[in-house]
């Protein structure tokens, strides 16, 4: 069963969440109850095939083994880190952590569909993040409870496609019982978010797809020529992608809030970004921040420390390149995803060069006209990126 894809799912969680709401409103902890219903909902998500309502053993066993593996890995590394700290063991732990994800992405190319399930990459991101922070010594004093760790990794509202929460932040919510008033506010925000999601996903995205996108780029009954068809496809696809995904994120965030967890936002009006850097601070934020913190920053620190490359701009550019290349192939190993990643790396690097050049020359003034122009340019450039991403081009 795919979360939030149809009303059946909402009916089920709507009923199961009633006790959580009541507990929250009277100021009691709903943690245990939430953990209990998570088991039921996870069993539905991973174990039941929608359509014929049959049991999906493959996905069920895959997720179980995968979770056991990640938990063991984290616990072992955490235990090891208590006493020792070598780079090689750390690298090994990270490689082991992303190994299942790599296998899921690579095996299909050899016609091996051994395992694979919803949300494998999002769970991986969370697991790798804990390993990295353990390495940094951020979790040294803590004793990570296995139940909480599993709850974090498999937190059902966000399990299939994020937003990607951080352990530190999640842990804080997990350990606090909100007061009556605080919970009222969370409930209010949660319901708002869910209804915004209905609007985004089930009204706007639905109409965009069924009334327009379905006929594009080349099923327009002769009303649009090749170029017009593809041009329209580019914009409508981009808008659809946003409303569909942002709608999904709203559901995930809303349900999290109702369960007392303030899952971070994923989108902040990305189509009014004034430049490409701004865009990545507004689009799929939890993912781009993850890549920023755990790929780009690590790479830059590491290079600076080792002093292999002296020029700090070159280091930064290689970092961007690495970030977007990985983000591209994370979507899949197909050519269009690779090109999508490289396209954005190129955009960021060019923009960075422009920004530094402009700092000296002061040609691009900062006023409301350049702001508006910046939004317009960024929008089109971003849409072209999604057009590459869609795989229609090649």
């Amino acid at each position: 069963m795919i979360p939030y894809s149809d009303f059946t799912f909402f009916y089920i969680i709507g009923i199961l969440l009633i006790p959580s709401v009541i507990l929250g409103l009277v100021g009691r902890s709903s943690k245990k109850y939430n953990m209990f219903i998570s088991v039921i909902i996870l069993a539905l998500i991973f174990g039941v095939r929608m359509g014929d309502f049959s049991i999906n053993w493959k996905s069920f066993i895959s997720i179980t083994l995968f979770t056991v593996f990640q938990v063991l890995l984290i616990k072992c590394y955490h235990k090891y880190r208590m006493t020792k700290n070598t780079a090689s063991i750390f690298v090994l732990a990270v490689i082991l952590g992303i190994l299942p994800l790599v296998l899921v992405k690579v095996l299909p190319f050899f016609d091996l569909h051994v395992f694979g399930f919803l949300g494998v990459s999002y769970i991986t991101f969370k697991a790798v993040q804990i390993i990295m922070e353990t390495r940094d010594g951020m979790m040294k004093k803590e004793n990570i409870a296995i139940s909480e760790l599993i709850y974090f990794l498999l937190f059902f509202p966000t399990v299939s496609s994020g937003p990607i929460d951080r352990w530190k932040r999640f842990d804080k919510d997990f350990k606090t019982i909100p007061t009556k008033d605080a919970y009222r506010e969370m409930l209010y925000k949660g319901i708002n978010s869910i209804f915004l999601g209905f609007f985004y996903k089930f009204i706007v995205a639905f109409l965009l797809y069924n009334k327009v996108l379905m006929y594009l780029p080349d099923r327009t009954f002769g009303n649009l020529n090749f170029f017009e068809g593809h041009l329209m496809y580019m914009y409508v696809y981009s808008l659809h992608l946003f409303f569909d995904f942002a709608g999904y994120s709203c559901f995930a965030i809303g349900v999290s809030y109702i369960m007392g967890v303030k899952t971070p936002q994923n989108f902040n009006l990305p189509f009014i970004s004034r430049n490409i850097k701004d865009f990545w601070n507004r689009w799929h934020m939890s993912l781009s921040f993850w890549f920023r913190d755990y790929v780009y920053m690590r790479f830059v620190f590491w290079m600076t420390k080792k002093k292999w490359i002296k020029n700090r701009f070159v280091v930064s550019y290689i970092g961007y390149f690495l970030l977007f290349f990985l983000m591209g192939i994370w979507h899949g190993l197909e050519l269009h995803f690779v090109v999508y990643g490289l396209y954005h790396a190129l955009l960021i690097i060019c923009f960075d060069k422009f920004e530094r050049w402009n700092k000296k020359k002061k040609i691009w003034k900062d006023n409301k006209w350049t702001h508006a122009l910046g939004i317009i340019i960024t929008f089109h450039v971003v849409c072209f990126g999604f057009y590459i991403f869609s795989g229609t081009l090649f």
């Binding site: 014929d52 069924n210 002769g222």
Partner: protein, 392 residues
């Protein structure tokens, strides 16, 4: 801190409930007869995907609707709707269909109207291009798909059981239906004669019965908004009223000749827009096509059986292709004749009334473009409808 209040939420729920339980009787009063009249020619998908508006239109003993597809929007002074008004025929008509409404879409609609069609005469225009090898595809099916009608089919008690099952089996081949888990489960439950997966099947029917009622409520509300658009029907009653059949034929030839700028007899508008820019590309582009093998024949059979089951009296109309154009497109005469003959055979076997216009494929101005009946074609159809209505 901002004050948190849940009052708007409660108001929303209350408003929703008011909408949901608002009496249909009152809403029906808001839908005027003028609106119903306009809806007859609007060909709004909400009408043929729904139930209420059609039941209003079908009221009256002298109603003879036309089921068809894209040809119906080709209005000219001889178009059946304009004809019935200008010639003051003893019957009235309305139009059901638009581009892509092929047999299966009509089947669902006929099943929906069911016994309302008992004893009614209807005209059903069959288009040759429906009978491509792949048959109806998702892209033509889904925009015309009616959730209301597909749910009603699962609960339909009046239609013959085996016919219903054939319909559901066919519908299950489409993604649109497969994606709807409740509908799919209900259909599978019905197809197994309630023998397999009993609990799941009953649960789906329980949930489905609510969805179905919601769809009907939605249909009534939507009916408030159809018939808003007064299109240009291009009526010129003077070309039709008090004129003999021969005079109308003449007038339609005159009318057509003023609107054609090419040797194929295709209207200038269509020719300039869709053909002229890529004429060379279109040479022989249909050289591989055939209309004699297609799932559409089965779908058409569903329509024929559904009419019979409902007790309607349909007249099927077999339309030719544009001979000159199809020669150019590489769809040669032998293959066209093979289709015409097969269609004749199918119609003959069905036992329903039918009229075969396929000997008009080279008759100028019978078709308005490569395959749509219009102009002179309408004059013939008007005449046929007059006779069909009189004849018992």
């Amino acid at each position: 801190m901002k004050k948190i209040t849940f009052i708007p939420l409660f108001i929303a729920v209350v408003l929703f409930l008011v909408f949901l339980f608002f009496p249909n009787k009152i809403i029906e009063k808001w839908i005027s007869d003028d609106r119903v009249e306009l809806a007859k020619t609007e060909m709004n998908p909400l009408v043929y995907q729904g139930a209420y508006m059609q039941s209003r239109m079908l009221k009256g003993d002298n109603m003879m609707p036309i089921f068809g597809s894209s040809e119906l929007v080709r209005f000219d002074p001889f178009h059946p709707y304009n004809y019935t008004k200008a010639a003051d025929t003893p019957y009235d008509t309305y139009l059901v269909g638009r581009g892509g409404t092929q047999s299966l879409t009509h089947f669902m609609n006929i099943a929906e109207q069911g016994k309302d069609l008992r004893g009614k005469k209807v005209v059903f225009i069959i288009s040759p291009q429906w009978f491509v090898k792949e048959g109806l595809d998702e892209f033509h099916f889904s925009p015309n798909y009616s959730m209301l009608q597909s749910y009603d089919l699962a609960f339909n008690k009046t239609m013959d059981r085996s016919l219903r099952k054939r319909g559901m089996e066919r519908l299950l081949q489409f993604d649109t239906v497969q994606r709807d888990h409740i509908l799919r489960t209900m259909y599978e439950y019905e197809l197994s004669d309630h023998k397999e997966r009993k609990i799941l099947g009953r649960a789906a029917k329980f949930v489905g019965s609510f969805t179905r009622q919601l769809q009907h409520k939605k249909d009534i509300y939507y009916s408030l908004f159809v018939g808003d658009f007064k299109g240009d029907l291009k009526a010129q009653p003077e070309l039709v009223e008090d004129r003999t059949f021969a005079e109308q034929i003449k007038a339609s030839e005159q009318y057509g000749s003023e609107r054609v700028n090419n040797d194929y007899g295709i209207s200038s508008h269509y020719y300039n827009k869709k053909i002229k820019p890529k004429l060379a590309l279109l040479k022989d582009y249909k050289s591989e096509e055939e209309y004699t093998e297609s799932p559409e024949y089965e779908d058409l059979q569903l329509v024929m059986d559904a009419f019979k089951d409902a007790g309607a009296k349909p007249l099927f109309v077999s339309i030719p292709l544009n001979g000159k154009w199809y020669d150019y497109a590489g769809f040669d005469k032998d293959r066209r004749d093979a289709y015409y003959e097969k269609m004749d055979m199918v119609l003959e076997k069905s036992g329903h009334a039918y009229v075969d216009y396929t000997n008009h494929e080279d008759d100028p101005y019978f078709l308005t473009d490569t395959l749509h009946i219009g102009w002179k074609g309408w004059v013939y159809l008007d005449q046929t409808m007059d006779d069909f209505y009189k004849h018992d």
